[in-house]
Amino acid sequence: MKILKCPLNGPRNIAEFVWGGEVKPMPDPATATDAEWTSYLFLEDNTAGEIHEWWLHAPTNYWFIARRNNISDEILETMTADTYFERTGGKTS
């Protein structure tokens, strides 16, 4: 059982968490082309390496972001969504 460190609750068994998908920016639905929109919804990069993912700590319904190496399955760091937005200039959606 892996450990995932929740920014609010600290290190916990990963069974307490729900995976929320890879973090990816949402194109503006008003201006995106059909192709851009369907690509956002249904196509994944399948990056092998470091990715950012949404995770939910289920007992507290707390969303946060983890940076994970999906080759070694190492969780490199976890952060609040705000920290992530600050780093990326506020872009996820």
Binding site: N13, P29, A30, W37, N61
Partner: protein, 971 residues
């Protein structure tokens, strides 16, 4: 009663675990045997002269004690209804009935043992090769083969036993309580770490319990007692014996089994001091009862006080064989000879035995054995080269053969955790590379054999672990320890085979040298394929005594080095886990509404709805349809009450509440008046219908939104996820459990509710359809919604759940004289379907978009954004491939259709039913179905394939089926 037995050893040096003052009796295959408290089944049987424990898997050869550590399948017996009990590990209790396994007829005269004579018809890989021709032959062969090869008997009537699970926590976990593990655990605890020491034996000490690692037996025992005393005195050292660690996983997560409990252990650092497994000498007929590992003979004597024989031959290549010989002499056992595989024996134990005049045959191996159900003599032969021996044999009579030709370190747990296992030719043993962080090996598992080095390395490992887990600075890790003595432990090729002989490499699976050679010849020369094709190491030993010799044979056959051959990966569990352990005590939360007790008292038949229990209907099980129809009529004609507490509820509060709901749901809410409810439809980003309910505006900044029972958690998660992005000034709270609710429905509903003391004006004019009021009813704080899921005038009354039962009581009290009756989920299903209301998740699926479900009216056209808007627009442009329509069955004589029955047109499947009921109100079967758009016009006829392949005629009907002008709910 006299406990004397000439196979028993008396005196304090013998039988550490068996209490000779506490005799027990038990039966083996119905025959009475004596034993002592602390004995195992195998030790007591051995003492009683019963040295055959089982018949082997394939050839039904008699087998006895090999490891005395439960490391292979030949020790399996059945105890009452429990199959596959390890006789050499199972502690005796008085009166148990033990049965032997895997024989036909008696254990002594197994009728299947003649199979041995036909063994050429059971070649390696025989499952793959034989019985598959002619085609279909397997079905005739399978049953007898499974019967012959089966181990253990499942007892279908076995009593259910209580198994459970528990977590355990430690800073440092030490696996193995031998000399290394004890030292490591003591050092770790002394350095302040919260330490957990686990050992699979009933007593701590490992090889200190039976061996001579500190020179003499007395010194070894003294050290053991000192270490144990030291360990027990440390308050931060928890010791668990009789507990087997079965697996090691990521982030220092280990599983362990103790009796009927599975432990899940979380540590910060793991020290594996799991020792090493004795390895067999491969020679013809090396499996006869009486032939055993050196440590098995030592355990029989030292742990249980049982003489393993009267006259012994020892085959060895290391000090352990000689040390065992000294033990045998101490026990009064004659030694016929010691065959040393080395040409020039050395060491203090060797010198001692030489001095005592024991015959030592240097440069010799065992080549064959004879015996009828027990070894009676062995042949000693001169070694002529790697794996070869002279054909000149010296037959020595004996009733005990002791093997000590090498060890393989127990690297299983390290391998589970991700370490790489590699062969080290310098020591003729495996070791690990790339150990995961926070896991170290010590002791013989780490290739350390010298007792001083074991002690110093283990202490260093324990201290280092303790320092790290306490976050204290660690400059350097302890330097890797190499022990020169390790090279003298394991013989590089203890395999002496002859043509057509029964020289066993794998005692579980009955595999001989020839089987491994043939595997390679059949083309399976990769070690992974060798394992799977030959089944070597697949038995309960899990390769403990099989892997190394298999790799040696494969290397020899392929001309590769052992390092090049590699090894197979060890998989958990290391020790058998029962399904019962894994199932444990199941935790399945059950949610009950505050009115649950009342439903039971009223004779409700309960059904599950997700985690919730809900009344299906009220009445006996004898005629549900009649009871349900009566409930429907009560609602249509008088008044009914249903517990809808399971409905999801969300409080959405804050300045942005309306704007937030506008973004989450498809319809428009910003202009919704306070005191009104409005239908809600939620779609996901791909436009698929997720949920529906109503949004009640209680205040400019407060909405109370209902959600379906099964979807509320998803809805709440989605809302909070979106607001992490949107950062709107709004708070979302899931208040499902905080509120109980009833739906009071029917023409009499208003009259009933008005009988109660209230500050809400329930008059038709003051409280119209889709109105919402907050106030009190019979002194209970309530939120009342005039919504009409069942299509009659009615009120959904929500209250804090602590008041739920009282609300039910008050309504029933005033309603009873007016004919109020409870109704259940089944009646509600009919009532809502009569009104044509959909249930999201039943009448929609994972692809349904709103237009398909006839929900275009709930899509706000002017809003610039809502979740799913973009996708829904694309879907609307693309057009529909199916549509949800109402239908009614016409005609009679065929069974009523059921949910998911298929719609057939011209022999093709064109759609399916999502909901269907026999409507008591309309007197016919009605339902909802997905059909192609071309079949969705009212009046279109189609056929439904119902039970028994019969076809029912149906036609598309406009919905609502009942009260199409919606007059009744607005009364």
């Amino acid at each position: 009663m006299s406990a004397h037995n000439d196979r028993r050893l008396d005196g304090p040096a013998w039988g550490l675990l068996a209490d000779h003052t506490k005799p027990l009796t038990f039966t083996f295959d119905g025959k009475l045997f004596n034993g002592f408290a602390g004995d195992t089944i195998a030790s007591a049987l051995y003492a009683g002269g019963q040295t055959i424990l089982s018949r082997s898997f394939k050839y039904h050869r008699p087998r006895g004690v090999l490891t005395m550590a439960g490391h292979e399948a030949n020790c399996f017996v059945q105890v009452a209804e429990e199959p596959n009990v390890r006789a050499d590990r199972y502690t005796l209790s008085n009166g148990i009935a033990v049965l032997s396994l895997n024989h036909f007829g008696s254990l002594k005269y197994d009728l299947f043992s003649v199979i041995g004579a036909f063994s050429r018809f059971l070649p390696v890989g025989f499952y793959y090769k034989t019985f598959y021709r002619p085609r279909g032959a397997w079905k005739y062969f399978e049953k007898p083969i499974r019967y012959m090869a089966g181990i253990g008997k499942l007892e279908p009537d076995a009593q259910h036993k209580y198994y459970d699970k528990s977590y355990l926590f430690a800073d440092v976990l030490v696996v193995g309580g031998g000399p290394a593990g004890l030292q490591a655990a003591i050092a770790s605890a002394e350095c302040g770490a919260d330490t957990l020491l686990i050992d699979e034996w009933p007593a701590l000490g490992g090889s200190l319990l039976y061996g001579r690692s500190l020179g003499s037996r007395a010194d070894t025992d003294k050290t053991r007692l000192e270490l144990i005393a030291k360990a027990r005195a440390l308050p931060n050292l928890t010791i668990m014996t009789d507990t087997a660690v079965t697996g090691l996983f990521s982030d220092n997560w280990a599983s362990a089994i103790s009796c009927q409990r599975l432990y899940k252990i979380r540590s910060k650092h793991t020290i594996i001091a799991s020792g090493a497994f004795d390895q067999p000498l491969v020679f013809s007929n090396n499996d006869r009862p009486g032939i055993m590992f050196a440590d098995a003979a030592q355990r029989l004597m030292r742990l249980y006080g049982v003489k393993p024989g009267t006259r012994a031959v020892i085959a060895t290549s290391n000090r352990f064989g000689y040390e065992t010989a000294l033990d045998l002499l101490d026990a009064g056992i004659e030694i016929a000879a010691i065959a040393d595989l080395n040409a020039t024996p050395s060491g203090s134990a060797f010198e001692a035995l030489k001095a005592r005049g024991v015959r030592i045959m240097a440069g010799c191996t065992l080549a064959d054995s004879k015996g009828n159900r027990h070894v009676e003599s062995v042949a000693v032969a001169k070694i002529t080269g790697e794996g070869t021996a002279s054909s000149v044999r010296d037959w020595l009579s004996c009733d005990l053969v002791v093997m000590s030709v090498g060890y393989t370190p127990a690297l299983n747990l390290a391998s589970h955790a991700g370490a790489k296992v590699v062969y080290d030719p310098a020591i003729s043993m495996h070791r690990t590379e790339n150990m995961p962080q926070g896991i170290v090996l010590t002791g013989s598992a780490a290739g350390i054999w010298n007792s001083d080095t074991v002690s110093s390395a283990a202490k260093a490992a324990g201290a280092d672990a303790a320092t790290r887990v306490q976050g204290l600075s660690v400059d350097t890790s302890p330097a890797p320890v190499t022990d020169p003595e390790a090279a003298a432990i394991t013989h590089p090729y203890p395999i002496f085979t002859g043509k057509g002989t029964k020289d066993f490499v794998d005692f579980d699976e009955d595999l001989k040298t020839r089987d491994i050679i043939n595997t390679v010849k059949d083309g399976y020369d990769d070690i992974q394929l060798v394992k799977r094709y030959s089944t070597a190491g697949l038995g309960s030993s899990q390769g403990r005594h099989t892997n190394l010799n298999t790799i040696r044979i494969v290397a020899k056959q392929t001309g590769k080095t052992l390092a090049q051959v590699g090894t197979t990966t060890f998989r958990p569990p290391l020790v058998a886990e029962k399904f019962a352990h894994m199932a444990g005590r199941a935790f399945e939360p059950v949610r009950l509404t505050s009115m649950h007790g009342r439903h039971i008292e009223l004779g409700a038949q309960m059904m599950t709805a997700g985690q919730w229990m809900r009344p299906a209907y009220y009445g006996t099980k004898t005629d549900p349809a009649r009871a349900i129809a009566a409930e429907v009529r009560t609602v249509r004609e008088g008044a009914g009450i249903i517990d809808v507490s399971t409905l999801g509820g969300l409080d959405i509060r804050g300045p942005d509440a309306a704007a937030f709901i506008d973004r989450m749901y498809t319809w428009a809410y910003e202009k919704q008046p306070i005191g009104r409810a409005r239908y809600t439809l939620m779609t996901d980003m791909s436009g698929v219908v997720m949920d529906d309910g109503v949004a009640c505006r209680l205040h400019e900044r407060h909405y109370y939104v209902t959600a379906t029972t099964s979807a509320v958690d998803q809805v709440y998660r989605a809302m909070t996820w979106f607001n992490v992005h949107w950062k709107m000034d709004v708070d979302v709270a899931n208040v499902t459990a905080a509120y109980s609710a009833v739906n009071l429905a029917g023409p009499m509903a208003r009259d009933i509710v008005q009988k109660l003391k209230t500050d809400i004006d329930f008059s038709k004019e003051a409280f119209p359809y889709m109105g919402v009021r907050v106030g009190h009813l019979a002194g209970i704080p309530v939120r009342v919604l005039r919504v009409g899921f069942v299509g009659e005038a009615g009120y959904e009354i929500h209250c804090p759940s602590g008041f739920g039962e009282a609300l039910w009581d008050k309504l029933m009290e005033v309603g009873k004289p007016m004919g109020l009756k409870p109704f259940g989920v089944e009646a509600q299903r009919i009532l809502r379907l009569e009104k044509g209301h959909i249930i999201v998740g039943q009448d929609t699926d994972g692809l349904t978009h709103p237009a398909e479900a006839g929900m275009e009216w709930a899509l706000a056209k002017k809003k610039s954004f809502y979740v799913g808007k973009r996708s829904i627009e694309m879907q609307m442009t693309k057009g529909m491939t199916r549509k949800l329509v109402g239908f009614a069955v016409v005609g009679s004589g065929v069974p009523t259709p059921k949910d998911c029955h298929l719609i057939i047109r011209d022999g093709e499947i064109t759609g399916r039913i999502t909901s269907v009921v026999q409507s008591p109100t309309l007197g016919k079967a009605i339902g909802l179905a997905f059909v192609p758009p071309g079949m969705s016009e009212v009046g279109t006829k189609f056929q439904i394939r119902v039970d028994g392949g019969l076809m029912a005629d149906a036609e598309v009907v406009a919905t609502p089926f009942y009260d199409p002008d919606n007059k009744r709910q607005e009364l």
